[in-house]
Symmetry: C2
Subunit: 283 residues, 2 copies
């Protein structure tokens, strides 16, 4: 039985991502109170794997996790795309849902979930919004309060877990809402059989040096999927670059040689890990 | 007299950046309550220029402003690097500063300023931290409260503006703290006489397309200073790229032709503006 660290409490989007990614495995899920704790658990071997969100298709990158990837000695061993659906959940009540919506006093949720449900709130202007640290915690809070005029915005799964009803489905504005999670472990995957990798690199602070590094990859037909820059503390306006590359299976044999060429054309390279690229359902 | 929009109230870091950047000009400064308001004032011509922070050397990019640059019809006409120094400020009191530090009950400031003064708080563990929306507002709050055991972390200038004393200088952990501001206006600068530009571009969602675009610039000896990606809403995991390029003065005549080549090798290009690169003092 593998131990998997995720953020928050059952029903959190990290929890759902873990259930989807490890769906065929027997796992023991460990809720962590912040991202750093997930990295620490994996680094110390107290968890076999951890899941950390790095990117949301609406909100952009989760920069804290980029910084933690740099600081920790872990390996990226997989990725998973989770579709984010937001639902309005409340306690059981005899009031019909439509009547209840007209009388709701307050909705609690994570600030991003409230922000991404703007249309719902503009149509229900009498409802007060209250920020909660996480969506699953907000659902649990509503269940504990037992107030029929209080509701949470969270995943459908939290309704089942905390005994809530779905008062209104899909209150999110934009249906194209996906979060990309990285799966971290303490041992690097082999290159054979995988088609993607994540690296962090630095280049000399001089003209053309970033493009020189990227050309190594494109000249060798690797696909640059994502590039992100983060500041280097103590070196104002110099950057760490985070890049994801993918390749066709027949290129797998050349990857090690290409990484060697990359090292020769950069200042430093940290290979976070090699893994199989994930798929987005229903995009 | 030019009207300049900045964020916050007198003494804010945006206010200081405006005073430094326009130091030889007669200006009328307009405080705005959020970044969007600055863009709106400039777009509608109610301000001639605005200053918006886009990057801090410790905290990274200010993504809200990247998104606002994309949404608004404005021109980037300049940049300015401001050194961020954080000082501990309190009201006048007869107590010696050292004694007072031992008895301080609370320090208010922006959460980033509190975070960047971690060493000070680890040496003064009895002091409670309270988050305020902005540093200058925190200083004004302390001045209004007249409580000698309350202090703020803010710029030296706020002390003079709100009648506070510097209780302890330079409480920030890292001295290499700079914020880069863009100066926005409603008319593009000419290319002649400037050496830098900011653009937003998109590329086809296919292998090699990003590097193809960047090669146009590097093959023509332009220097890629910064690249940043932001999500495109409705197109999960496709990106807008924000890039800054600089060049040597003798290349100015070729810039228009190079931009044309860039258009041919990308899906879309929005030129935010041409401007003179700013300098960092004492880096």
């Amino acid at each position: 039985m593998k131990k998997i660290a995720y953020l928050g409490i059952p029903g959190s989007y990290s929890h759902l991502a873990a259930l989807e990614y490890f769906k065929d495995k027997e796992i023991d899920l460990i809720g962590a109170k912040n991202f750093r704790k997930i990295f620490d658990l994996v680094e110390k071997g107290e968890a076999d794997y951890g899941l950390v969100p790095v990117e949301n298709s609406l909100a952009g990158s989760v920069y804290d996790n980029y910084d933690l990837l740099y600081e920790h000695d872990i390996a990226v061993v997989g990725e998973h795309y989770l579709k984010i659906d937001l639902h309005l959940l409340g306690t059981e009540s005899e009031m019909p849902h439509e009547v209840r919506l007209q009388h709701l006093s307050k909705v609690v949720s994570h600030y991003k979930a409230l922000e991404q449900s703007d249309t719902f709130f503009s149509e229900h202007t009498w409802i007060q919004k209250e920020i909660y640290s996480d969506t699953a915690g907000a659902a649990k809070f509503v269940a504990d309060q037992k107030d029929p005029l209080l509701a949470a915005i969270a995943s459908r799964e939290t309704a089942a877990i905390y005994g809530l009803k779905v008062l209104k489905e899909s209150v999110h504005d934009n249906p194209h809402n996906y979060t990309r999670f990285l799966i971290i472990g303490n041992k690097q995957n082999k290159i054979k059989g995988v088609d993607k990798c994540s690296i962090i690199f630095t280049v000399l602070h001089q003209p053309g040096s970033l493009v020189l590094a990227l050309r190594v990859m494109s000249d060798n037909k690797l696909n640059l999927v994502k590039i992100e820059s983060r500041p280097i503390h103590g070196k104002p306006f110099e950057y760490l670059f985070y890049a994801d590359f993918s390749w066709e299976h027949e290129q797998a044999d050349q990857i090690e040689k290409i990484m060697e060429m990359l090292r020769e054309n950069t200042q430093s390279v940290k290979i976070l890990g090699y893994y199989k690229s994930g798929a987005m359902a229903n995009v």
